[in-house]
């Protein structure tokens, strides 16, 4: 049901079409049939804002995936302290000598004050790490939310009651506060305070904690959807033919739930990106030597009175990403649910 990635030529063909009538060529073929998914895809292709934001999001993901390749071609990495190693880049106050954060043909986005690391590769890897955490958390959240929500909704009774109360408690929990307050406690269980926390542990615990608090809202939404769907006659029809509960859940119910699942997860990812950056900014989560959007913003906030450039690149790229992803989420919803009107 997931629409394939857009082919470059696709939006050009249909942008001028009337927005109500379906694409003519396929209607003429007569016997060719259009699944609800394909109808949604053709609606999506007609939404210009959606397609453009789709490309923007795609661009960010490509950049994130190709970060090592790009930095290799670019010839720099995010860890080397160029400013200290090469004299003449930083002045006596440890600020870049050149204006606008030291932007030059060699350092495209400038260099950091103090350590003199390359901002461009730092941002690339920051995007990579942020998107890795946010994507993993989104996938896990969706997976748990879907499984728990559908099971609770389909089984009903005591299971449903129990799951419902757990969801209530989780949704009532102040997530960010918990993070700030308990983060050191949780980490102390694994690592003694003297040692450095390994990055993988930080990343894993971030993903786990985000998932633990995130699945509840998706689960609640899907539980409601399943409650409505399971009384439909096509479920009874499957039961009459002897279908097992697993078959009913995965073959009959799940295909009807892709719409809310897809919408929820596309809206969830930007939330996780900002949440993760916010935590890093507050000093929880990823820490300085590890490139990250939040770490960069924290760094930029230290110097923005002297030079706004360090704030500009991570801030702008994040705003573009989040706005594009939210617009994409909106378009996906509009395409999948043609009854909603904006």
């Amino acid at each position: 049901m997931t629409p394939p990635t857009p082919s470059p030529a696709a939006p050009l063909e249909v942008t001028d079409e009337d927005s109500v009538t379906p694409a003519k060529p396929s209607a003429l073929k007569g016997n060719e049939s259009r699944s609800p998914g394909r109808l949604a895809w053709s609606r999506f292709k007609r939404d210009r804002a959606g397609v453009i934001s789709g490309y923007v999001v795609l661009f960010f993901f490509v950049v994130a995936i190709c970060a090592p390749l790009i930095s290799k071609l670019y010839g720099k990495d995010p860890y080397t302290t160029y400013g200290i190693n090469i004299p003449g880049l930083l002045n006596e106050f440890n600020f870049p000598v050149k204006p606008n954060g030291g932007i030059s043909s060699e350092f495209w986005f400038g260099i950091e004050p103090q350590l003199g690391r390359d901002v461009f590769t730092f941002l690339l890897y920051g995007i990579r790490n942020s998107l890795l955490i946010a994507t993993a958390a989104t996938l896990l959240t969706t997976l748990f939310g879907v499984v728990i929500g559908i099971t609770a909704g389909y089984l009903g009774g005591k299971t449903d009651y129990l799951v419902g109360r757990v969801i209530d408690i989780l949704l009532a929990f102040p997530q960010t506060l918990f993070f700030i307050a308990f983060w050191p406690v949780v980490l102390a269980i694994f690592v003694s305070p003297e040692e450095n926390t390994p990055v993988w542990l930080t990343v894993t615990s971030l993903i786990i904690v985000m998932t633990v608090f995130g699945w509840a809202s998706i689960a609640r939404l899907l539980r409601g959807e399943v409650l409505a769907l399971r009384e439909r006659e096509f479920v009874e029809a499957a039961k009459v033919t002897g279908a097992s509960p697993a078959r009913i859940i995965f073959k009959e119910l799940l295909p009807n739930l892709w719409t809310p699942i897809l919408i929820q997860s596309t809206l969830l990812l930007p939330i996780y990106v900002t949440a993760e950056a916010g935590l890093a900014f507050l000093g929880v989560g990823l820490q300085d030597p590890t490139p990250d959007w939040g770490v960069m913003l924290q760094f930029g906030a230290k110097y923005y009175q002297d030079d706004i450039t360090f704030m500009l690149f991570p801030g702008l790229s994040m705003v573009i990403f989040v706005v594009a992803f939210n617009l994409l989420g909106d378009s996906v919803r509009d395409a999948l649910d043609p009854k909603t009107k904006r």
């Binding site: 016997n31 049939s33 699944s35 006659e233 009874e236 029809a237 039961k239 033919t241 002897g242 078959r247």
Partner: protein
């Protein structure tokens, strides 16, 4: 019917839905007696019509036979095998023989599956591999129910209500059932489409020898389709008889009232029929009346009706197989007392 075991034998079938209430601890405070002690048989290749007004337990009966609901009491046997409380695994071999056609063609087809997938699904579940593959069989089935086999890859939203109901019929046929429970299969369709679907079902019954339990509230449709008809009122069968017997010689007052409500097209040839207009509403199935359940609306009710529930028996003057549950059965010349029930316009 008496010599061999019937295809389906239902005895004392009862379904009570618990009514929960109370705070803070929820407990059962009553029961909706949706179906209360049904007895009937369906012979092989026979069509039994089940009629009655809304809420009388027709659909519940259908869902009990197909075991979508768990009976509270009573016994359902299929070919002599007790399936009353059989689990999903025990039911597996019988599932393919008892199928169901649903009322709402818009809700009974999964909107995300193609027609081919919908119809081949039952074969997949029961691991049936027809000769020439499932797709070929699905195309055959589509042809049998009067659809274009080319529609194999289409989705339900591309079809009209009547076509969708045909898809539902094809799905039911996919397992080559011996018994189909049709739960108001045409009541959601246009009148012009109703006839097509009923004729299709009738043709299938004739050609494939499938027995039907045909649930409907439309007496004309049932008369057209069923060899035997059972009339239900408030969870009980009040009268069961061969079609012509029931329509020609109704013995239960309720049957009579139902039949009199059917509009007649032959206005000027036959004298206008007495229109029996029942007063009041159907009593709540949570607390049905004592004795005969119809007594609160019956023009003949006496104290006996309140104290004693009439058994479903062959009353005097009935042909064999015509059973009526009434203390004071109607006869051909019984005329309901005018002050209570007769249509004032018809009397004038």
């Amino acid at each position: 019917m008496s010599s061999t075991t019937p295809l389906l034998d239902v005895a004392g079938l009862t379904k009570h839905f618990p009514v929960k209430g109370g705070f803070p601890i929820r407990r059962t405070i009553g029961a909706v007696q949706a179906v209360d002690g049904l007895d009937f048989q369906v012979a092989e290749g026979e069509s039994l019509g089940l009629v009655g007004e809304s809420g009388c337990g027709k659909s519940t009966t259908g869902r009990l036979i197909t075991r979508l609901l768990e009976p509270t009491a009573g016994k359902i046997s299929y070919r002599g095998q007790d399936i009353t409380h059989a689990g999903r695994k025990d039911l597996a071999p019988i599932r393919s023989e008892i199928q169901m056609i649903f009322q709402d063609p818009y809700a009974s087809l999964n909107p995300r599956q193609t027609v081919g997938k919908i119809i081949s699904g039952p074969m997949e579940i029961n691991n049936i591999k027809p000769e020439g593959g499932r797709e070929k069989r699905v195309r055959e089935l589509l042809e049998i129910v009067g659809l274009n086999p080319e529609h194999y890859n289409r989705f339900p939203h591309e079809f009209s209500g009547g076509q969708r109901q045909r898809i539902g019929v094809a799905r039911a046929l996919a397992l080559e059932p011996k018994l189909i429970v049709a739960d108001e299969p045409v009541s959601a369709l246009d009148v012009s489409i109703q006839a097509q679907v009923v004729n299709l079902l009738q043709q299938l019954q004739r050609d494939l020898g499938i027995a039907f339990v045909f649930i409907a509230h439309d007496l004309a449709v049932v008369r057209h389709f069923s060899q035997r008809v059972a009339v239900m009122y408030l969870g009980k069968i009040v009268e069961i008889a061969d079609r012509d017997d029931l329509y020609g010689n109704p013995r239960h007052p309720y049957t009579r009232a139902l039949l009199s409500a059917v509009p007649e097209a032959t206005a000027d040839e036959t004298p206008a029929r007495e229109r029996i207009r029942l007063v009041g509403d159907v009593p709540s199935p949570i607390s049905p009346p004592s004795g005969c359940r119809f007594r609160t609306r019956c023009w003949k009710a006496t104290d006996k009706c309140a104290s004693e529930a009439p058994p479903l028996v062959q009353v005097e003057g009935n042909k064999p197989g015509h059973l009526t549950a009434c203390h004071y059965p109607e006869t051909a010349d019984t005329v309901p007392s005018p002050h209570l029930t007769k249509d004032p316009e018809a009397a004038a």
